[in-house]
């Protein structure tokens, strides 16, 4: 992507963002995050998202472990983890992940083990998709930042 113009990359970013919005993967809270980023805090979004990734992966691991306890799944603990994941997902604008947490929590409240397992699979899937897309977004952003400082000669083919 080196040498591609700033404008092109900006368009790529917007296209990806629009897609994620359209798919309901992200909501307007994500835009709020972006608005909090400026020269005084130039990496704010990626810092928060990185924290979100770490926390979420811990929570997902814990949820999987809890569900492996076939005998007596600790649904209360599951709900605590889910509430945490719901909260942080909502805070970064991860709408679909959050919605799956809601359904997961409903299954947990009914002590529905099979339902919880299905929910966890879906949650892991949604989380993976979100993570991949956000990484893509950050890569484009990095390229754009790079392109805006590096000057290439007019003819570089």
């Amino acid at each position: 992507m080196l040498g591609w113009g700033v404008e092109f990359l900006r368009a790529e970013m917007n296209r990806l963002l629009a897609l994620l919005f359209h798919q309901g993967v992200l909501d307007e809270q994500f835009l709020q995050l972006q608005q909090l980023q400026d020269e005084s805090s130039p990496n704010f979004v990626s810092e928060v998202i990185t924290i979100y990734f770490h926390e979420s992966e811990k929570l997902l691991r814990n949820l999987r472990l809890l569900l492996m306890e076939r005998e007596l799944s600790d649904y209360k603990k599951m709900e605590i983890h889910l509430n945490q994941m719901m909260g942080s997902s909502s805070s970064i604008g991860a709408k679909r992940v959050r919605n799956v947490c809601v359904a997961f929590r409903a299954a947990s409240e009914q002590n529905n083990h099979a339902g919880c397992l299905r929910a966890l699979e879906l949650l892991e899937h949604e989380y993976c998709y979100l993570k991949n897309k956000l990484h893509e977004l950050f890569q484009i952003e990095q390229q754009r930042a790079l392109a805006s400082v590096v000057r290439y000669p007019a003819r570089h083919n």
Binding site: G24, E28, Q29, Q32, L33, Q35, L36, D38, S41, F44, E47, V48, I51, Y52, E55, I80, N83, Q84, M86, G87, S88, S90, S91, I92, G93, N99, V100, V102, A103, F104, A106, A107, N112, A114, G115, C116, R118, A119, L122
Partner: protein
């Protein structure tokens, strides 16, 4: 906030979620507040106990205070999450309002869940506002009228704002009257409502929290659980 003469309000933020702490910290800093963020109610009380609030413990040595500070750092507002393990935001609120040295620090509660009974409980206990998460810049902008003004008017830290000139020293008041007193000098006429009147049509966050559920909020209409599969 460039000049040394302008004091910054100091907000104590309490939230067990690191993501939310980062968010609230940034929101507050962008709004020119000084921020201390802690992850639990007990840490919050610890922090408050070590500060010179209301002069109760100002005689105690505060190790982290620079020699130029007069009383240590005061807290002008506490914003806390509701759902926290151990001490909830509600528990913290109660403890603060029960403490003679802390009770006139305004407290704002945040929650990701819109539960009317929870909201009224908090407001009745003396919370100034109840903000629905995720917290946005517009929510933080509405905090300013609730700020407890710096107690001691130090000469080199004289507040340039008009309300301090009109009111002079703060008088220790129960939380409800405190809110009205502050609001008299503010330019937010819509916020001159007692805390209990949540159903009144005004543009404050209390109404937003309740009416959002009934779909009346003019603010972002949030469809909370749309398109959710059941398992």
């Amino acid at each position: 906030m460039g000049t040394a003469a302008e004091p910054q309000f100091h907000v104590l933020a309490v939230d067990d979620s690191l993501v939310d702490r980062k968010l609230i910290e940034r929101l507050l800093k962008i709004s020119s507040y000084q921020v201390t963020a802690v992850d639990s109610g007990s840490k919050a009380l610890e922090f408050l106990g070590s500060r010179g609030n209301n002069g109760r413990s100002s005689s105690d040595p505060v190790p982290s205070v620079s020699p130029n500070d007069h009383q240590g750092v005061e807290v002008n507002l506490i914003i806390t999450d509701y759902c926290m393990p151990g001490m909830t935001g509600y528990d913290l609120l109660k403890k603060i309002k029960e403490s003679s040295s802390l009770r006139d620090i305004p407290v704002v509660i945040m929650s990701s869940e819109n539960v009317p009974s929870r909201i009224s409980r908090c407001l009745e206990e003396g919370a100034e506002e109840f903000i629905l998460k995720p917290v946005r810049l517009s929510d933080v902008n509405k905090l300013r009228p609730h700020m407890r003004r710096t107690k001691k008017l130090k000469t080199h830290q004289q507040e340039p704002r008009e309300d301090s000139e009109r009111h002079g020293e703060i008088r220790s008041q129960p939380a409800r009257q405190h809110e009205l007193e502050i609001q008299q000098s503010q330019h937010h006429p819509s916020q001159q409502v007692p805390q209990h009147q949540q159903q009144k049509s005004s543009n404050n966050n209390k109404r937003k929290a309740i009416d959002a559920e009934e779909g009346l909020s003019p603010d972002r209409a949030r469809t909370r659980y749309s398109g959710v599969a059941t398992f």
